[in-house]
Amino acid sequence: MPYIPHTEEDTRSMLATIGVRSIDELFREIPDDLRLKRPLDVPSALDEAQLYSHLKELSERNVDLTKTTCFLGAGIYDRYVPSTVGAVLSRGEFLTAYTPYQPELSQGYLQTIYEFQTMVAELYGMDVANASMYDGPTAMAEAAVMAHGLRGRDKVVVSRAVHPHYRQVLETYCWSLGVEVVELAADSGATTGFAGLDEASACLVVQTPNFFGVVEDLAAARAAADAAGAMLVVVADPTAAALLPTPGSFGADIVVGEGQPLGIPMGYGGPMAGLFACKREYVRSIPGRIVGRTHDAAGRSGFTMTLRTREQDIRREKATSNICTNEALMALAATVYMTSVGKNGVRRVAEDTVRNTQYAISVLTKAGGRLKFAGKVFGEFVLSLPKPAAVVRDALLDHGVLAGLPLGPYYPGMEDDLLVAVTETRTKAQIDHYAACLAEVLK
């Protein structure tokens, strides 16, 4: 019995204290016809060495991103994770704790969450941030639901240049609440018109840089939302947010994002951490947990979860969300990342991303691709190809290049378009290799 410490003597003496003869007797309240009377049909137990080999063998069936060079982004990025992140996350005091219901025993975690909230709010130029959501897409859906509640309107307007998976999650959440979702065209690679946004709309949702890597015009989005009396929800990549003017400076009401680029492994998409920040006037409507600073009877400063009357365990069906377990450990990863990289490092990561992206554009367009959209891009761009993008992507995989995301499945008519991401971790040699292979594949 791995992990179960009971000796036969322990069990005997515990049963005697309880006053029963066997463990089975403790299950006597389960009606006999509901008992499982056969062994579970599952594989046999493995020892620790066998477990490791079995899982290692499964992991080695994958083409992981140390075996190929990654130019695939679409919301999840191959960014550098400083060694400090894993070292802090492996500490049992953090890893094996739960929600800080007893603040006196959880000051360490609570302080890191307060620091996380501060750094996320600073990144987005917003007043306040919460203690994390599940991921970027659910954070965006929660923002739309919050706007629906605050404005009392049953329509959400979202740009088609927002990540397709984000829009799918939004669609699911809104369907179950009876909220209508209307999409805005973005045929030029950016959100250009706001027809469909009207007095029935709770919010306008845009993403910057958007799914195509193009920087959106947030001033225009704010003006359109104001004209309709709607809230402005902005989905913002955290790395780009370290370089571009903040969503807060344009008057965004709620800003959300995927925290993965801040020190979280790609991990096939989970676990992630959703970022969520808003204006201070909306703080009592925020979903999820918030940590605040207060003091004890002796006047010592300390941290505790606060505004708890928004939460499900207190307000039940009247809560601002149903979230209980969030992504605290991933938020801690982001906190360690933001601290390690810091003010100076994050700017360098963002600027190197731009530099590598511009170089990739220059060599890939020489190799036979064409830049699809005219707008300014941050770390990602759409490359139009003279062949179906999926065919090119598959051919480049044989050359050890994960070339990007073919857009056809998401945007009918874009079958020849490839979404290419370039982070600070790519080198000139890797980008040159991509270009050389692309030229050969297109020959």
Partner: protein, 493 residues
Amino acid sequence: MPTKSVPQPKLVFEKSVPGRIGCNLPRTDTPEVDVAAAVGAVRDSVAWPEIAELDVMRHFVNLSHINYGIETGFYPLGSCTMKYNPRINEKTAALTGFSHTHPMQPEATVPGNLEVVRQVEDILAEVTGFDEVSMQPVAGAHGEMTCLMLIKAYHESRGEGAQRHTVLIPDSAHGTNPASAARCGYDVKSVSTNAEGNCDIDSLKAALDGSVAAFMVTNPSTLGLFEPEIAEICRLVHEAGAQVFCDGANMNAMVGTTRPADHGFDCMHLNLHKTFSTPHGGGGPGCGAIGVRSHLEPFLPGPVLKRVDGVAVYDHDRPLSVGRVSGFHGQFLMAVRALTYLLAYGKEGLPDISRYAVLNANYVQARLRDHLPPAHDRPCMHECVLTATPYKKLGVRALDLSKRLIDHGFHPPTNYFPLIVPEAFMIEPTETEAKETLDAFCDALVAICEEAKTDPEALHNAPVTQVVGRLDEAAAVKNLDVRWTPAREPAKV
């Protein structure tokens, strides 16, 4: 008890010195560009800390010293299943072949990932008895909400979507149940619990009409008791045309012994971070796998992983699906950990999880019964719900006993839940705790109960051994300070 002489930690921002950096970042070798010309306007710098790498490590390691986890000590938080999180799980989840895969890689390049997820789904389907399992929901409450969405889609497919707008929930339920129902646009109605601690069948019958979409049942209940009439409850709900959801928070009591699908449930969620040992991480990540009977399968969030000729592949053709509920494929690295755990026990060992979890809970209940009586005097399942009402007349509340436990080195149990038990003291020891740990905990609690009679002030003042004492939570709300500002003044929100 000696007061800890830990100095109050500084905030990371207060340690910042301009010009420092806490990591050795990659250096690019591509040609320089005019960044502003490339992206348009740029912002001022981000006021994140500037700290050298050693001081980054010291900051977080020192904060870990004032935080309590399972690896620090006993953590009997009822309803949360704080069992040991085996370290081998961390080792397998860190394998590069898993951690360095991208969720939008071509499916053909990640057969190992698909096999991991499908193996977990197969084992969980067998353990719960359901026909299909989805790993896309990312937390317990998210799994509950997804199950209600499936039920909503099911009723809509039968033309009863508008008519069935109510969800019934026992008064003992977790707050996530009503919150998830409200999240799906449902009205919530409460069903009472009877004197024995079971679902009150008459109250249920009175509430069951054509407006009911679902009944959400936690089994074993949050009182730590198995619902003996569960099969009849499911029958009655089905007879009224509604569906029965099982809140699987308490699955740790049932592994290998009894299966929710065999009770008559239509769907359930599982907390992999409870029963299946993935770490709680200070509040997450969770993983809210769901199991369903075949009639709900068409509505599962897409894509759904299927076996075709023995190979795991995604089925994207899901016309009746409720849609996507999270960004990608759920908490994949949590699935790796759960598979590692499931295979560590295997066919032979899995039933022991529940057997010893139930033994430990009954042992604690028996050892404490003369001091903290059980709310219902029956064999409990994996957790026991006791009541601290005998101490109320001394001016001592359940919370006071809990706070004093901190001074004895233990994490307190859950208090004041379930809401229907006065002065609730909900203890869930889990199967991974040794007898001597349980004895030390019970000894401490008995001593505290005695202290309540002789020196209640000591309990009111507890804890006195931590870096802070009880915090003023009303002041935290009134003078809301949820972020640091460079002016070194708390931001008043």
